[in-house]
Symmetry: C2
Subunit: 221 residues, 2 copies
Amino acid sequence: MAQQKKIPDIVIKRLPIYYRFLTNLHQMGISRVSSSDLGKKMGITSSQVRQDFFNFGSFGLQGYGYDVEQLRQEIGNILGLNKQRTMIIIGAGHLGQALARHSAFEKEGYSVVGVFDVNPHLVGTKIRDIDIQHVNKISQFCRENKVDIAVITVPRTYAKDVADLVISLGIRGIWNFTSVKLNVPEDVAVENIHLSDSLMTLGYYVKCLHEREEEQEEQEE
Amino acid sequence: MAQQKKIPDIVIKRLPIYYRFLTNLHQMGISRVSSSDLGKKMGITSSQVRQDFFNFGSFGLQGYGYDVEQLRQEIGNILGLNKQRTMIIIGAGHLGQALARHSAFEKEGYSVVGVFDVNPHLVGTKIRDIDIQHVNKISQFCRENKVDIAVITVPRTYAKDVADLVISLGIRGIWNFTSVKLNVPEDVAVENIHLSDSLMTLGYYVKCLHEREEEQEEQEE
């Protein structure tokens, strides 16, 4: 499955969701799934599902549906889950610590190899078996260790400086939790976590539910 | 702007992103924006942008672009940001504490009014000015206080029980950080945070960048 052309970001963003659904199906003992069922779960059409996979070659026989475990593995391989990736976390506050302790990432091949902070109360302590080091050790650490991804969980005001630093050290992936828009060169990938977006979406639906309830109450009166 | 029909979830998910972009534009002193510029930032076509807004009525004069601040306010109102919402957090581990301390949510009208855990080392302590209470106080708390949203940051195994409890107490919105799929009645809204999805997407791009680098190195040899 050679990758010739640029695949739309929206398709890439769907891959982990397919992977998660397929993992669930596999755990439930379901061995085949149709593109139409996958589409329903993803909120897209079955033809979009087939088109998504067509970007990477063709998977399975559509007439009989996809083999769940095979499709799961192929998508896992596209995502690179068959390879180990290393991460450092910069910012060992509550969020950094929560991420460092999150065991699910390790199952998917992502291991935290270093945690950095400036707080003297944190530097020298451990999260799991990882020493929290001072941020001024990052350069040395990155020279001595292969680091694929930097997770940025520092306060907003330090986000850009930390990003510039890790990019200068050759790190190609940034997982940005700061909500600060980072300007990075073309050969660096950034994924931003905007928790507020999710909360606002939820707030919208809650608002609609409240409005519906109020309407019903008015009708009953 | 009465809401007559069901608006696709994908459109609702874009509203907070529009809102964020418009806030940035406003902060940069930009007062007008075209649907085509908005589309570029969102990764969709200008016609999709216009269609998104058409779901809620029509905003501004398209020929001259949208008025940034007006559009921002209209989207904010649709999202219900003009109203205060209350949240309780169940699970005061690192993630729960990080969320309780996250000041950005408050700026958008979401305030944390209660935090609950079972850990005797945490119960009775405070996060900011909020007491961490034992989870067996949730029922009483919800009877005495209006709670819009329950944030679930407990370990996976407790996720369903906590969700059932808060639903039985009349909470209509669940912000679920546990990765456990929750089955909820129709009159309850759930937003799931799947951090792994974002990490896998990032991993994909990092993989592509590494592969490109390797190709270039081979060509140079």
